[in-house]
């Protein structure tokens, strides 16, 4: 039994948990809820074991120190860790707020993400580290960045659900904002799926992620396909906008209060922000200082981390301006995560930089 066996178990457990959570929401029976939590915890334990085993495998192979062998050195490993943090964060919230409804949203994200990582064949090979990556600061930097990203992703979901629950009119700007954001997310997800089935077989995973994303749509050489992709995106956004109230009705059934959502959004950011500051910005700066002799060089990845930081600082401070409670700050929280995701994936995908880490030059 190796680490991928346990990753498989966690993937299945999360997807199973999703089904049970939904059953729980539909039936309202407490026992079913407990079963859902149990399955999630089993998945989480197996996930933890798998990460531990991979760490050990890397340690045996690389012959480097134990800390240097932390399995966080490529996109594959970092996404697995991200999902791990997400589930951990969710479990903490479930126990603290004694509310399971939220599990129906988090477990499918976790299950699908793990399945996607597995299907896309993202390099699972254990690769030795380039000299610049051989630093103990790397462990601290990457690990804390992902803890922060996971916290931000929780605040994103609660912020989005908050907006879904509290907006009434289709002409309201907050309503337009969330339907637009969700529409774009759905579109990108869909188009990435098309890319995946069109090109994935032909090229290596790293090359796929770097050069073939959206090649079947926005970046297609044919003008017709390009225009069609844009039209498709606009169509999806309009559909989400038109039928958003259906989603609101579904959410209303879950019985999560808007105040709880607002509080979880704030709490997640209150955890994510300091962790991101210390791990993402400060440790990143120290690492760059050790490796290249500049703690700050305004390269795109660094600049985008700073932008992410400013957006969340914006969030924290906007709560203090009168009249900015509720929807407005929820919009900032949702935007913050979109920016954070761009920092994590978009910069490598669309902008080149000093440490476009995860690919080997």
């Amino acid at each position: 039994m190796d680490s991928s066996f346990f990753f498989g178990i966690s993937t299945m457990a999360y997807i199973l948990a999703m089904i049970i959570y939904i059953t729980y929401l539909a039936s309202g029976k407490k026992e079913i809820g407990i079963a859902a939590t149990t399955v999630t915890i089993i998945g989480f334990i197996s996930h933890t074991l798998a990460i531990g085993m991979r760490w050990k495998e890397f340690y045996d192979l690389s012959g480097m120190g134990f800390l240097r062998s932390v399995p966080l050195t490529n996109l594959y490993e970092s996404m697995i860790f991200f999902v791990w943090c997400l589930i951990l964060g969710y479990l903490i919230i479930e126990f603290k707020y004694k509310n399971r409804s939220f599990g129906a949203f988090v477990t499918p994200i976790a299950g699908l993400a793990l399945a996607f990582i597995d299907l896309s064949g993202m390099s699972k090979e254990i690769q030795p580290l380039l000299p610049a990556l051989q630093s103990n600061w790397l462990l601290a930097h990457v690990m804390m960045s992902f803890i922060a990203y996971a916290a931000f992703s929780l605040s994103f979901s609660t912020g989005l659900i908050y907006l879904i629950l509290t907006t009434e009119r289709k002409t309201e700007s907050a309503y337009i904002f969330w339907t637009f954001t969700l529409g774009i997310f759905v579109t990108l997800f869909f188009l990435m799926g098309i890319d995946f089935f069109t090109f994935r077989v032909a090229v290596k995973p790293e090359v796929f992620i770097k050069s073939y994303m959206f090649r079947a749509s926005f970046f297609n050489p044919s003008m017709v396909v390009k225009i069609l992709s844009w039209i498709a995106m606009i169509a999806i956004i309009v559909i989400v906008w038109r039928y958003g109230s259906v989603l609101k009705m579904v959410m209303d059934k879950f019985g999560i209060s808007a105040e709880t959502l607002d509080e979880i959004t704030y709490k997640s950011i209150a955890v994510g922000f300091p962790v991101f500051t210390l791990g993402g910005l400060i440790f990143g700066a120290i690492w760059a200082d050790q490796a290249w002799g500049t703690y700050w060089s305004w390269d795109p990845k660094e600049t985008w981390s700073l932008i992410t930081w400013f957006v969340y600082a914006f969030y924290l401070h906007s709560r203090m301006v009168r009249g900015w409670r509720g929807k407005k700050v929820a919009i900032v929280a949702v935007t913050g995560f979109v920016v954070a995701m761009f920092t994590y994936i978009g910069v490598n995908l669309l902008l080149s930089g000093l440490h476009s880490y995860g690919d080997i030059k």
């Binding site: 300091p274 210390l278 002799g293 305004w298 700073l306 203090m320």
Partner: protein, 530 residues
Amino acid sequence: MEQEKNKTFIDKIWDLFASVKFAIIIFALISLTSVVGTILEQRAEPAKNIQILTRIFGESLAPTLYNIFDKTGFMDMYHSWWFLTLLILFSANIVICSIDRLPRIWKMIREPISPLTEEHLEKVSIKRELVVKGKPDTVKDFVTGAIKGAGFNYNESKEEKGYQFYSQKGSFTRLGVYITHVSILLILIGALIGIFFGFKGFLPLPEGMSSSVALLHTNSLTRTEEHEKERILDAIWTSSGSISSSSATLGMDENTLKAKMHKYGIQPLGFTIRCDDFDVYFYGNSDMPKEYKSWLTVIDGTKEVLKKTIAVNDPLSYKGVTFYQSSYGMMPNAQGKFILRITPKFGAPEIKQLNLGERFVIPGTTMEGTIRDFSPALSFDKQGRPITYTEMMNNPALFIDFKEGGKGKYSGWILKRHPTTAKLPEGHSVEFIDLWGVQYTGLQVRKDPGVWIVYLGCIVMSMGLFIAFFMSHRKLWVRIAEEKNNTKVIIGATTNKNRAAFEGKINKMITLLSKRDAETGSAGRRKVDG
């Protein structure tokens, strides 16, 4: 409203800078302009950015947009006047906002806690009540025990029907936000000190060579300037850094020379650094680099004062100047020396430095070898013919011809990365240690006296954030009053953060009190029974 009107212009400016709204605008402006700065490549050739703009906006708009962005400083925006202005506004905002609020916060911190009246106690945000058996004087001790158990040192005041205990904790945590804000200023100050009193340069240093200067980033030079820069560098390198003897060789007076050095970004180090050797190590048989290493020596005056082997993530520092392993490469047209370690079957090893075509003898035998060929990166094609697959020293190999007693014996490749190729059939060994003197190590050279302030700022920021988010100012009032021969306990509390955690603590106090009450109650009954 009246007051609004009477405000002077200065007051208005002050209010603007003290407002969080203004901070939010600044956050937005810095973020949005930075986005543009990551799309356009900074300090790049114009062609590059025109290409980027063409890709986004199409052929027709690109040149106009380029001109607009160029005029407004977006091509090097993080050094532009307006970005600097934004940062200054940002700093002013933090300073003024903090000064504006600090007196109030300070009062809150210093203010001692006092007992609350009944009406006030009704209104606090966290409130619990319970009735316990016995008079206030008998329950007093375990109530105060519970307060201590929750981690509070209390004050006590006697009241008409009982007592009130009151206490507060963590009032200083209200400063967490201000500590965070100050840390941002520290970081900006540290960065400014680095910009004004430090430098950031580069130094390609060939094996065996030394330098007493580093090269800084300059604006592009004309051909004649480029030529003059080369001449000055040559003079400085040959005079091992002496300004006076260089100025003599160049026929320039010292001040002119210094001015020219400044213009061409030739930065004196104040000492000399020498590269003794450079090497790359690879993972297994792959071409994936595992480590780059430079063996460096610092010479101050005429003395060798420091030797260190540096690698990526492991730099050398001397007198505030730090050398980082950053890149490497081959010197064009360099003549290196092949270094071999020759070990006869029965005998001690011997190190030899040889040129291409040169002969050597295996000590104590009549066998001699001649270096016929060299490849920096040897591989074999499909037909088995030797090829060089890159000009970098990824797999250096020597082709050696062996003769014994004047007669040809055999020949073959000896590879540096594959020690087994060094063994000869007779039991001798000829190891290829290095080709020395053809590679240069690329050193990043930095002096930054502000970096410690930046790090201090980072530490202060971490502490400030920790205090701001994970600690809170908690106040607790407990009132006990007689009520029909029993005692009514009222607990009131406030906190500025993490209310749930504090409530948990207070609920624990309640549980503790009611449990003790049950125990003493039954004990009391037993007494009555007896």
